[in-house]
């Protein structure tokens, strides 16, 4: 799957991400509008403001990030974000990437809050998941380490 994926739809997002990775959908075809400025923004706040119109994040215990503690390959880090909230969108930001916004899924608020994808990470960084629910932004984060490796056990 492409690093920056912006998919809009009401289909279960897990399905969508499989469809996209199989090349059945190209992002441009499913896009209502490609928010290029959000994906090229150099800061988290700029990206969030452009994409979601808000930068205030409330920490939530109801967002679960499944990601490796140490990435096996920074170029393809498999992640899964899930939430029990009625999610209008789920976005993922990598704090230390040159352009932090990695992907955003518009879910329409009536689908299962579950997305799974792969992101690229240049260096050890916090991975921030942002869920938009009821017009507000909620977030959780997890550190994913990108290491040179080679000296274990």
């Amino acid at each position: 799957m492409k690093r920056r994926t912006f998919l809009k739809g009401t289909v279960a997002s897990g399905m969508l991400s499989v469809a996209a990775s199989a090349g059945l959908l190209t992002p441009r075809r499913v896009l209502a509008a490609w928010p290029e400025t959000a994906f090229t923004a150099k800061s988290i706040d700029d990206a969030l403001d452009t994409l979601l119109g808000d930068t205030t994040l409330a920490t939530s215990g109801d967002i679960k990030i499944k990601a490796p503690e140490i990435a096996e390959n920074g170029a393809v880090v498999p992640i899964t974000i899930s939430t029990g909230m009625a999610a209008e969108s789920i976005s993922v930001l990598i704090a230390k990437n040159p352009s932090p916004l990695a992907c955003s899924f518009a879910l329409g608020g009536s689908t299962l809050g579950f997305v799974s994808t792969r992101v690229k990470m240049g260096e050890t960084s916090d991975l921030i998941a942002v869920v938009k629910s009821g017009g507000k932004l909620y977030s959780a984060k997890k550190t994913v380490k990108v290491t040179i490796g080679g000296c274990g056990g």
Binding site: K66, P68, E69, I70, E72, N73, P78, T124, T143, K145, T147, I148, G149, G150, C151, G152, G153
Partner: protein, 572 residues
């Protein structure tokens, strides 16, 4: 004094026949007490035997435990981060006893001469038969790092160890260094050799395309009518610590969530006892035990910690015992559960040191070992030189055998600096003993042994040291990789383990001059995880270096200046 079992029995016979008090009698009595070490009456109804990280040491060996094993943050002063006298005090072990020798580095050379070598598969086999004779339905678990670590294991692609563990009667295993023979070889062994004999278990390895299990996650065996689940957990960071190209299609990782699902599935399948056979490393085991419910015991390895008592970890499901069983064939864990009314009611545990002199070698295993060594005998036994001091590896920073390797790398590559990985395996050599080619292989026998020379800037040298230090001293065990600090030659530095990444390494000097960030240095190394490196294998470079000298002089141990650590029981 070094008394073999036979000599000891002869002495007893002579002493009792003559009624004369022999000068050696005190020692003989002491050794009789030592033999009681192995009198372990059966308890309960579900017994599990466990050894781990033997690193293919078929023969009895010397192995010095660490004198530096620093625990920081929540790990400070807790098992396994205890060394020397702190270790003895914590576990109530008297100094100058066989146990003190087995579990600590104290007085190592003298004690080694007194108590003799440790481990050896023929001796381990005898002990296992003895313990199992009282526990006929017990299971024998192998925690992995079994197929790698010796010359014969490397030269037979792990076959000598596969055959040895089958003879030993291993019921289930998991892995780490096993994977460095490559995915195809691992699969081949499982299909051709292990099939029908033992299960290779790893719940945390999935293929990276479909995210399906590559190996069986768990197996349920009935022990005296009690369904007992064994779950496998391979070393989570194999593709990072070792070459990823050898297992390109597999993802590893810790996978707590999947572990919980696996435990739940095993319970649903009727398991009344759930045991995790883990290669996490002990700090990771302890954290996992606090987060996953429903595991009765974690029998772990990887970090080579020999811990005499289980750590009882509380979690929402109750208590999980965390056990780690040492390394290099030195120890056998025996865990007895009393299971009634569908659950564990009590337990007994012993970590038995294997003193080779106290155990008659098992004839079948001894024959296998002789057979394995026969074609390689001359090469294995080649005397390269004599050690003028104790050679050992284990510890957070350079051991003397590492120093010797670093000296050899700098000499051979005309380098400013040398790096050698912080492996925790590798046997010890006593002062005055010949260093054989086999000894060198116990330090270097890997499938990616190439010696390299790179031009690296001072800035990147610091980055490398910081990166490895964070793998060792991160305050969260899930971000640790379980090796020791990279061994460094030619470069002096200070380290503060309590700081964060980027801030631990300071005062770097090469040839008494500060390391310059922009300057490129000649850095020798080996065991690169990148594919297709060209050059000589490390064992040849090290062997040549030793051959050049009659008595091997090792340069002063390049231990960094350790800052920020006070009153830490991981440092004597």
């Amino acid at each position: 004094m070094n008394i073999s079992r036979r000599e000891f029995l002869q002495m007893l016979a002579v002493a009792s026949a003559t009624g004369i008090s022999l000068p050696g009698q005190a020692v003989a009595k002491k050794q009789a007490a030592e033999k009681k070490l192995y009198d372990l009456p059966a308890f309960g109804n579900v017994s599990l035997l466990h050894f781990t990280d033997c690193h293919a040491q078929l023969m009895p060996i010397w192995f010095r435990e660490p004198d530096i094993n620093i625990g920081i943050a929540g790990m400070k002063g807790k098992a396994p981060h205890l060394v020397g006298k702190h270790f003895l005090a914590r576990y109530g072990i008297n100094p100058n006893t066989p146990q003190a020798h087995a579990f600590t580095y104290l007085n190592f050379v003298e004690a080694a001469k007194q108590y003799g070598k440790v481990g050896g598969f023929a001796h381990l086999a005898t002990l296992i038969k003895h313990i199992r004779s009282q526990r006929p339905e017990s299971l024998l678990l192998d925690g992995g790092d079994t197929w790698q670590g010796s010359a014969t294991s490397l030269w037979t692609n792990g076959q000598d160890m596969v055959d040895a563990t089958k003879l030993l009667g291993v019921d289930a295993m998991t892995g780490h260094w096993e994977f460095t023979y490559g995915a195809d070889r691992v699969k081949e062994i499982i299909e051709k050799d292990l099939n029908g004999h033992m299960d290779f278990l790893a719940q945390n390895i999935i293929d990276n395309q479909w995210e399906e299990d590559v190996f069986k996650s768990y197996v349920i065996k009935e022990i005296n009518g009690v369904p007992t689940a064994i779950i496998g957990q391979a070393f989570p960071y194999t593709p990072i610590a070792n070459p990823r190209y050898m297992i390109p299609d597999w993802n590893f990782g810790i996978r707590d969530d999947k572990m919980q699902k696996t435990v739940d599935a095993a319970r649903t399948d009727g398991a009344q006892v759930v045991v995790l056979l883990s290669h996490n490393g002990m700090d990771v085991d302890l954290k996992m035990a606090s987060r996953v419910r429903g595991i009765d015991a974690i029998m772990g390895g990887h970090t080579h910690d020999a811990v005499p008592e289980p750590v009882e970890v509380k979690n929402v499901g109750g208590i999980t015992l965390v056990i780690n069983s040492g390394s290099n064939g030195k120890f056998l864990s025996v865990l007895d559960f009393d299971v009634r009314k569908g659950k564990v009611q009590g337990y007994r545990y012993s970590l038995l040191p294997i003193f080779s002199n106290l155990l008659e070698p098992d004839a079948t295993m001894a024959a296998h070992i002789t057979n394995v060594r026969k074609p390689f005998k001359a090469k294995l036994e080649e005397k390269l030189g004599v050690a003028d001091e104790l050679l050992y590896r284990r510890g957070n920073f350079n051991g003397s055998f590492d120093q010797l390797i670093l000296d050899a790398l700098i000499d051979a590559q005309d380098a400013d600096i040398a790096f050698s990985p912080g492996f925790r395996w590798g046997v010890s050599v006593l002062p005055g003993e010949p260093i054989t080619f086999e000894h060198v292989m116990t330090q270097t026998a890997i499938t990616y042994p190439t010696v390299t020379l790179n031009q690296i800037t001072g800035e990147n040298i610091k980055l490398i040291l910081e990166d490895v230090a964070d793998n060792l001293f991160n305050t969260d065990p899930y971000y640790q990789q379980g090796g020791d600090m990279v061994r460094v030659g030619g470069l002096k530095f200070s380290i503060d383990p309590t700081k964060t990444i980027g801030h631990r390494i300071t005062d770097m000097e090469v040839n008494d001059k500060p390391l310059k960030a922009s300057k490129k240095y000649r850095v020798a190394g080996w065991a690169s995880v990148e594919p297709n490196r060209e050059g000589r294998p490390a064992w040849d470079v090290v062997a040549d270096y030793i051959r050049k000298q009659d008595t091997v002089k090792v340069n002063k141990l390049n231990i960094p200046n350790i800052k920020g650590i006070k009153n830490n029981p991981g440092l004597d």
